[in-house]
Amino acid sequence: MTDKSSSRYAPGGPSAERPFHLVSEDATRAAAPLQADLAIIGGGMVGMSLAIACSEHGIKTALIEAEPAPALTDRGYDGRSSAIAYGSQQVLKAIGVWDLLKDQAQPILDIRVTDGGGDQRDARRPGGVSPFFVHYSHRDLAGDAAPPQSGDARPVDAPPFGYIVENRVSRVAMFERLQACPNVTHIAPATALSFKLDAERALVSLSDGRQVEAALVVAADGRHSALRGFAGIGISESDYRQSAIVCTVVHEKPHHGVAHEHFLPAGPFAMLPMTDDRDDDGRIRHRSSIVWTEDPRLVPMLLALDDDAFGAEIERRFGLTLGRVRPLGPRFSYPLKLLVAEKYLADRLVLVGDAAHGIHPIAGQGFNLGVRDVAALAEVLVDARRLGQDIGSPLVLERYARWRRFDNLLLVGVTDGLTRLFSNDLPPLRLARDLGFALFNKLRPVKRLAMRHAMGLVGNLPKLVRGEPL
């Protein structure tokens, strides 16, 4: 479905030879450092969004990415999809990315959370596995009392909860948007080898021999951030002893925009609706993205199964709500760990996205936290810029750290608590959470607050999250 756009970045494609704004290879090597206001290390979705948001406001940005541009949009690089919450969608709209990917974004109209723990022999029973479940309908947000009813995506007043978009699609859109941005120098492939302070500037040495000098360096280089290490920022990490298997699946019946989350003893199993596409024969294909948490010891065996057996394992866990299920394309697995950086700031360095926090995918919030980081940081930097401030000054950055820490820790706590509460099969806990679900369903104000938080609409929101320009 995205072949049209992805081919542009395929190896050997037109833009592969000459990435935009790329500093010419030999001319600058070993010469004076490239001068920038902002150096973003890590050109993934978070790094690119930040570069787009800031460069529009005259902040001269160097964006450094380890992978060559074509690889980032390759199907085999990242099979994941991300839940883009309503608030994140506002951000992507405000920075001009949304229009480039909206055709490939599947709205989430309903969320069904089911406690499917325990009796897996019944798991094939169509329609779910537990009498108790939470049903979130986006109509709840409109305040209309329509009975929960899955199905047709009738237009209603309330916005969808969010969207499921393949990471690859988001990257292609951001990459395209970046090309229209002034003030951005995109350097790829290159990694940061060192980070040092030089009076009132930060100096980053790159693996290609170049140096970038900037007022502020942003570590957007992911969970294993090298920059974070260079700056001596510690992390606390805890292992969930779970792995996530991630892949795209095709299923017989349409999903009607419903996202399912089943809490199984090994961990949550999510079936997230994707846009339909067509197979090689031109037939419509219903697709979903699965995030399947599992005991790490079983993962190698599961990944090695053939498509039919793998599909049967999915059906065993998910049921036949969507008919027969078969995997499509490569399968990926990731060990799940909670990661929290001890602080978000060092001198002339700031952490964003997964470099600052890695949470359990249980609530589909990882990317959204990163986007909210971007929205807050971009606002703080642009505000500082308008006051002629040094954007790398601690006074400027402390506002970002204070702003984000609360929201991030809250979600860390929520996702961590949920994971620990649900990833077990102790009868008393099961009863308690089922009763909790039933009660939760009745308490509309509480439910609405939880929904709004998951949508990224709670708290002191950055302008971009409110859909306002900086």
Binding site: A32, Q35, H57, A199, E200, R201, L387, G388, Q389
Partner: protein, 285 residues
């Protein structure tokens, strides 16, 4: 150095001719090729030890968590005020972009100290000159501008010295200075002389009220220890009317008077109607 606090030492202050000083202008970055931080205070026979000493002092001046923290915290509200009032006075969209709202205008920062105000103004596009009677402050300011690559002209002189040179400026700033000068009326007349006929002048200082005694002296110097004791002499604080009078005599009218109030919850300063402690005003002909 904290006790000196970077205001013009008028009594016996160094009277360097501005011509001598010109060789020192803040190091231009573009194309210079050398990494910014070398503190290459351009040209001439600069004593390297001196440069090292000034670098250390610049670090202290510019450390937002150090002794000058209050000024750093005060900076955003001051600059926001200047920017907004300048835009109102000269009209928006002259030739400036949104990123350089002061482009095309010249600014004079009297008593610039380490350059905390001069650098942001230069970043906003103003052709900025900072003067300070303390040679040391000027050296610090120059060192720092070379490190950040912001272009500011710093001159070690008093406002009076500049009058004779004939230079006149679109924007004249006397921010947190007047409470340290011996004769405010003379100082204000001099500052007004340095302003172009259609220019705008800013004064920021502390009011002489019971409240300012409680906050600025007892609170800031003794309780919170934001400032070294003895930084301020309450008796030298001026009421807005005491600033307005000499300015009126120089042909200027007050265009705006705004208070500056500390918001302890957010640890920031905001514009406020309450002018009892800190206030800012702007005036033009």
């Amino acid at each position: 150095m904290t006790t000196e606090y970077a205001f013009p030492r008028r009594a016996g202050g160094a009277k360097l001719s501005t011509a001598d000083a010109n060789g020192w202008s803040g190091g231009p970055r573009p194309g210079s090729g050398s990494p910014a931080g070398n503190g290459t205070v351009s040209g001439s026979t600069v004593d390297l030890e001196e440069v090292a000493k000034f670098s250390a002092m610049a670090e202290a001046w510019w450390d937002p968590r150090g002794s000058f923290r209050p000024l750093h915290r005060l900076n955003p509200v001051r600059i926001g005020y200047i920017r907004d009032m300048v835009e109102r006075h000269f009209g928006k969209n002259r030739e400036q972009s949104t990123n350089q709202p002061l482009a095309g205008l010249s600014a004079l920062d009297i008593g610039c100290g380490g350059g905390l105000l001069s650098e942001p103004l230069a970043r906003l596009g103003a052709a900025t000159t900072g003067i300070d009677a303390s040679d040391r402050n000027i050296a610090i300011a120059r060192t720092h501008a070379a490190q950040t690559g912001v272009k500011v002209t710093y001159l070690p002189c008093a406002a009076e010295d500049l009058v004779a040179t004939g230079h006149r400026y679109d924007i004249v700033l006397a921010m947190e200075v007047i409470e340290h000068v011996s004769d405010p009326a003379v100082f204000l007349r001099t500052a007004a002389e340095l302003m172009k006929p259609d220019g705008i002048m800013f004064v920021a200082t502390l009011n002489r009220t019971l409240k300012s005694y409680a906050f600025a002296i007892v609170g800031a110097e003794y309780v919170l220890r934001w400032l070294p004791r003895g930084t301020h002499d309450w008796n030298k604080f001026l009421r807005p009317s005491e600033i307005a009078r000499p300015l009126r005599q120089a042909g200027l009218s007050i265009r705006d008077l705004s208070g500056v109030a500390y918001q302890p919850i957010n640890d920031r300063w905001d514009r406020s109607r309450d002018t009892d402690v800190n206030y800012m005003l702007c005036a033009s002909r």
